[in-house]
């Protein structure tokens, strides 16, 4: 998790209000598992249109919570989905995606548990 992203969000924090970053993390976790499933299903079935949509959505929200590597992998998957990159690397990218998603999911859930 990129510390500078989290630090930037802190400037939006208002006294007495719920933690801005944790609020975004909770929202991310609510939808990320479904989005990750959509990425996997579309990649395995080679449905590039759905891969484009699923990876695009997760790319943006991952970047917001500071999961920049996950966001970069999603960006690469999105590029395959919309035809900007060749499909050859799809399987290795999907493996990298699943590994990184597990790391991020664990780290963010740990933050929520700690709070």
């Amino acid at each position: 998790l990129d510390a500078s992203v989290i630090e930037d969000l802190r400037c939006l924090q208002r006294p007495g209000q719920p933690d801005v970053y944790l609020g975004l993390v909770e929202l991310f976790l609510e939808t990320a598992t479904l989005s990750a499933k959509a990425v996997n299903n579309s990649a395995i079935s080679r449905n590039l249109v759905e891969l484009d949509d699923a990876a695009h959505s997760l790319k943006s929200s991952a970047a917001i919570v500071g999961a920049l590597r996950l966001s970069e992998i999603c960006s690469a998957l999105e590029a395959i989905g919309n035809g900007r990159s060749p499909i050859d690397d799809l399987d290795s990218l999907l493996n990298a995606f699943n590994d990184e998603f597990k790391v991020i999911d664990r780290a963010l859930n740990a933050l929520i548990d700690k709070a």
């Binding site: 939006l12 975004l24 991310f28 959505s57 929200s61 970047a63 917001i64």
Partner: protein, 167 residues
């Protein structure tokens, strides 16, 4: 690519002036507090995390009336509903890439329907999607901001456009 802004007169891209900061605009925020509080805003984005982040940025400069739509179709529904209630939106911040009705289709419909005073539209787009910005300009966006939102980017654009936002 991030350092390019839209020139509203020539509809061309030009290098951004990098000197503007939110600190310079603090006076602007104070002077415009009442206007900012009166601006009725609609966020159109299919991603709940993105919508929350945009909302946080808007609230940070004192915008208080913020509605949300989950895609372009929902956006048009809410625009029309607001118009019927005689409470039209003054500012719309819309994502570009959305399922069902995307940002471009939303804009085309938006500019076709009479929504009261001309609404100011800011489009959010990923760097890789800057190509469609040209199409969006032709469809009537007033400005765009590259995602993910970095620091004060969106807030500065809104503050810089306050004189063009009719309340």
């Amino acid at each position: 690519l991030i350092s390019f802004l839209v020139d509203h007169e020539t509809r061309a891209f030009r290098p951004a002036r990098p000197s503007r900061t939110l600190e310079n605009d603090i006076v602007n925020i104070d002077q415009q507090k009442e206007k900012l509080a009166a601006i009725r805003t609609l966020i159109v984005d299919d991603n709940a995390v993105d919508r929350r982040l945009v909302r946080l940025h808007l609230e940070d400069i004192g915008i208080k009336v913020i509605h949300e739509a989950v895609d372009g179709g929902d956006g048009i529904f809410k625009v029309e509903n607001a118009r019927e209630m005689s409470r039209p939106f003054h500012l719309i911040i819309t994502d570009w890439k959305m399922p069902k009705k995307d940002g471009l289709a939303f804009l085309k419909t938006l500019r076709d329907v009479k929504v009261g005073p001309r609404v100011f539209v800011i489009m959010l787009t990923a760097v890789a999607d800057l190509g469609p910005v040209k199409a969006a300009l032709a469809s009537g966006i007033d400005d765009y901001v590259v995602k993910p939102l970095v620091k004060d980017q969106l807030k500065l654009r809104i503050l810089g456009a306050l004189d063009k936002i009719s309340v």
